[in-house]
């Protein structure tokens, strides 16, 4: 371990953290602006040109807000919970590759903070840790709404982790590696995985929406029902940390989705000019983020039990089916003919249509028993 390597790590980590912090601030602006345009409004337009200084104003407000701690709360855990929520999110971003390796000062520098050979597994395990912050926040607040909200949120996360994990398996199978860098380079030769496994990408996006608690799966902060649930007792900077965790999670999850299914940093000209890599990845992240905001502006919230039913009864079996289909396609491609790979999108589309059919049938108006 030479000193230069440690410096490299420190600098990359700092870059990433600053990117996430700045990204969080401007993601709130981006969301408010995009929502406003969808809803025929202006959105923030007072602080600075186009309201660009709004995030800074918000930050100042949150920092100077009074921090309240309920008297019957469990103080230690009450303070610990927001931290436990934010840190895993930042950790999760470590494995995402931002570009092809570059030569700088005579060294080969990987464009990710940690290029693990089990990168995908790392992401799932860190994501599973993130649940604790929410459970503990709900419990330590000593408030009925908070504890109900915390339990709900964590049950939701644990349930959707299964579908999410299986969706992770699809690119792993296709690339034959858990290293995110390998997955990206494999997409350079095979084409974006979203083309080979479109239904898998869709399941991944749905499951991530649920995993990070965004609309229409925003049970954790279902304001209309539980008055913002697990963080209802939090104020000031502690509240801001929960807020930060949610938005940073959005960014990180979009980065991961872009890496796994949308070709990561790939794009025309990346081989020649490696600095295009981060730009392409950022562009993909922004497009995916807009998708999330769009969904939020459009869909009402799913009720909790139906959300669980969707996770367990629709997404999980479909994802299992997709894993089987993908493995089958890869085997056939190896044994018979490489063109047989295209059996994967066909069969997975069939699986997807079946799943939609199941939902449709469940929703079809029935003669319900009159109470």
């Amino acid at each position: 371990m030479d000193a230069a390597l440690i410096w490299e790590w420190v600098i990359k980590a700092l870059f990433l953290i600053f990117f996430l912090l700045g990204g969080f601030a401007y993601l709130t602006w981006y969301e408010r602006k995009a929502l406003a345009r969808i809803q025929v409004r202006y959105g923030p337009n007072r602080a600075g040109p186009y309201g660009l200084l709004q995030p800074i104003a918000d930050a100042v407000k949150l920092i100077f807000k009074e921090e309240l701690t309920p008297s019957m709360a469990d103080k230690v855990i009450f303070i610990l919970a927001p931290i436990v929520t934010v840190v895993p999110v930042m950790l999760m971003a470590a494995t995402v590759p931002w570009g092809p390796p570059i030569q700088l000062f005579g060294r080969t520098i990987n464009m990710s903070v940690a290029d693990l050979n089990v990168g995908v597994l790392y992401i799932t395990s860190i994501a599973s840790i993130a649940v604790y912050g929410i459970v503990l926040a709900g419990w330590s607040s000593n408030n009925k709404y908070a504890i109900l909200g915390g339990l709900r949120a964590s049950a939701q996360m644990v349930s959707y982790e299964l579908a999410l994990g299986l969706a992770f398996v699809l690119p792993i199978l296709l690339a034959g590696s858990m290293r995110l860098m390998d997955i990206v380079t494999k997409q350079a030769e095979m084409g974006w995985f979203v083309l080979i496994q479109p239904v898998g990408a869709l399941i991944f996006l749905i499951a991530t929406l649920a995993e990070i608690g965004r609309a229409p799966f925003d049970m954790p902060d279902a304001e209309q029902e539980l008055s913002s649930s697990y963080h209802s007792e939090y104020s000031g900077m502690k509240f801001a940390l929960f807020f930060m965790a949610e938005y940073e999670k959005m960014i990180v999850i979009c980065a991961i989705a872009a890496t796994l299914f949308f070709g990561g940093f790939l794009g025309p000209g990346v081989d020649k000019w490696p600095w295009l890599g981060p730009i392409y990845l950022l562009a993909k992240i922004i497009v995916l983020l807009f998708l999330m905001i769009w969904v939020r502006a459009t869909f009402p919230r799913i009720r909790y039990d139906r959300l669980m039913a969707l996770g367990w009864k629709v997404l999980l079996p479909t994802a299992l089916g997709l894993v089987f289909v993908t493995a089958l396609g890869i085997l056939l491609a190896e044994a018979v003919n490489p063109a047989m790979l295209w059996i994967i999108p066909l069969l997975s589309l069939v699986a997807g249509v079946l799943a939609v059919g199941v939902i449709e049938r469940a929703l079809r108006r029935k003669e319900y028993a009159r109470r």
């Binding site: 279902a222 459009t298 909790y304 319900y368």
Partner: protein, 588 residues
């Protein structure tokens, strides 16, 4: 303005209503006071007569229950108005009892819809309803001193019987009471009550006890704890300061009790002190989302009492305004329902745009966007200005039909709305009638009862329109019905605009103060939220003797608890949104 009393004829049975005196000889007598109608039932036989009315004569919808305190005669009277859901005029029956310790048998066993209204009568007038399952105060707080609508009740710092208070302008100098008593407390406590020593356990106990009566033993003998959760009064989804207490088994609701009165200002007491015209702006504040409709009902009631009819053009303007209000109200209702379901404001803001255009029309016509104070007895305050009329035409013929179709495409087929709406919060037709539900709530359950058709008032018999009816009585049906009602309202407005004649908008000379003849009058309109009725008793003075509002939001809440049992917590919010309440009207 003519004030000839039309009631001076001897009592005859109204055409189309049964002769109760013949059916119950000796138990029921016709009400023969001048200006009154209906039947007086002896208290002991009230339940028997009511059961017969419901089962034999088909008066299945008990619309209004209220009391009147006849202090000079030393009597209390409970007045019931019942209607047939198949249409036609209603029947009014009354029970009289003494003023000291008045007791009347409760009708909850026959008409469960009477529950909240009987509680209100107990709260405000002190009439005990024997056999009522849960007779607690409803609008005032436990521990309130006395019953404020009794004529001998006087508030702290009591000044005068009726407005304008003579004591407030001694020697011609007018002062405001608030200036005289800026920080003093104006609450008087009962004799044995000390606010310092009082702990809030007892009334809460009362409330929670009434929740527990419904708790069922679990079948396998396992003891389970029911969590009691208070939603509100400070809760983002109760549309104001409304509170409901839910007993939960897991996330399933086993019982639910609404708690209201946080916005109570005793509208009816205020109404008794004001002159008739003074009350008009107050009605705007009842259901502040549909003020025109409130004006309409009040004007109709007083006109009925006075025996006058407005000129043709005024009738058309009234109908146009009432239907515009209906559209504005349903815009708000659907928008907030979708919000309650968790849509992030998009449908709400789209619909608010339409509502704003309608409010522009109100502003141009009445001078105010929400608190319109537009109707007068015998007409409306002023004619619609030319440009506002153009705006209405643009809305009715061009914009609204297009926007409504657009909204339909945007929302109706949304999977999540269907999943959360279909089969949730089901209210069967029988239950809806039993709980005295009216408006979209009743029609959503499949009962085609719309007062505009069932018992037409004003000039509604001249228009062609359909009554949308739901099949399943769930949240989704109520939503669809509201959307369809907006389309029908547009149809009515289109026809009214085509037929509207020129002419005056007010009969006679406007006057500030008048004395209607002695008598009673019950007027009702099909408001956006349901049957909005006013019951007014006049004793020939410039102020009404009794002024009662039959508030649809309030009475529709009777069905709220039963609808929620067995549902999830998340659904209560949606169900409440689909009832469409406004707290200004619930608490009055």
């Amino acid at each position: 303005m003519t004030t000839a009393a039309p009631h001076d004829v001897p009592h005859t049975v109204q055409a189309g209503t049964p002769d109760l005196a013949a059916r119950f000889p000796g138990l029921v007598a016709p009400d023969e006071r001048s200006g009154y109608s209906g039947w007086i039932v002896t208290a002991d036989h009230l339940v028997q007569v009511a059961t017969a009315l419901r089962d034999e004569f088909g008066y299945d919808l008990l619309s209004s229950v209220t009391g009147v305190d006849y202090l000079p005669e030393g009597k209390m009277e409970v007045v019931y108005h019942a209607f047939k859901t198949t249409g036609g005029p209603g029947i009014c029956f009354k029970v009289q009892t003494g003023r000291d310790d008045p007791q009347v048998p409760s009708l909850v066993s026959v008409y469960p819809g009477a529950e909240l209204q009987e509680r209100e009568a107990w709260d405000l007038l002190g009439i005990k309803f024997t056999g009522h399952p849960d007779l607690r105060r409803i609008l005032m707080w436990e521990g309130f001193n006395g019953h404020p609508l009794r004529k001998d009740w006087q508030e702290p710092y009591y000044e005068d019987e009726a407005k304008p208070f003579k004591s407030r302008s001694p020697e011609g100098h007018v002062y405001r009471f608030e200036d005289r008593n800026p920080f003093g407390d104006n609450v008087r406590y009962p004799e044995d009550f000390d606010p310092e020593k009082w702990t809030p356990e007892n009334p809460e106990d009362l409330l929670y006890k009434s929740l527990k009566t419904y708790q069922a033993e679990s079948p396998d003998g396992i003891e389970t704890d029911h969590i009691v959760v208070n939603m509100g009064p400070q809760h983002p989804s109760t549309h104001g300061v409304f509170r409901f207490v839910v007993a939960l088994d897991g996330e399933k609701i086993v019982n639910l009790k609404p708690v209201m009165g946080y916005l109570h200002r005793n509208h009816e007491k205020i109404g008794e002190r004001n002159t008739y015209l003074m009350n008009m702006p107050y009605t705007d504040r009842l259901d502040y989302l549909s003020p025109m409709s409130n004006n309409f009902a009040y004007a109709l009631t007083v006109e009925k009492l006075m025996g006058i009819t407005p000129p043709e053009r005024a009738e058309y303007i009234r109908v146009i305004m009432a239907e515009l209000t209906r559209i504005a109200n349903h815009c708000m209702c659907i928008g907030s329902l979708l919000n309650d379901l968790g849509a992030f404001f998009t449908p709400m803001i789209y619909l608010l745009e339409e509502r704003d255009l309608i409010l522009d029309v109100f502003e141009a016509t009445a001078g105010s966007r929400m608190m319109v104070n537009y109707f007068r007895f015998g007409g409306v305050a002023r004619d619609i200005p030319e440009d506002a009329l153009e705006k209405i035409k643009g809305l009715a013929f061009e914009r609204l039909p297009r926007i409504l179709d657009e909204m339909d495409r945007l929302m109706s087929e949304n999977e999540i709305l269907r999943a959360r709406g279909i089969g949730q919060g089901v209210l069967t037709a029988e239950d809806a009638i039993r709980y005295s539900a009216t408006g979209p709530l009743l029609r959503g359950s499949g009962v085609p009862y719309d007062i505009r058709r069932a018992d037409p008032y004003s000039i509604y018999d001249r228009f062609e329109f359909d009554i949308p009816v739901g099949k399943n009585g769930d949240i989704y049906d109520r939503y669809i019905i509201r959307l369809e009602e907006m389309r029908q309202s547009v149809r009515i407005i289109q026809q009214a605009l085509k037929q509207m004649p020129e002419g005056p908008v007010m009969v006679g000379k406007p006057q500030y103060q008048f004395r209607p003849p002695v008598g009673e009058s019950y007027g009702r309109v099909e408001g956006p939220k349901g049957e909005l009725g006013f019951y007014i008793v006049s004793n020939g003075k410039p102020t009404p003797w009794r002024y009662h509002v039959r508030a649809p939001s309030f009475i529709n809440l009777t069905a709220f608890g039963p609808m929620c049992v067995g549902q999830k917590v998340a659904d209560t919010v949606a169900i409440l949104g689909s009832i469409d309440i406004v707290l200004g009207e619930v608490d009055r």
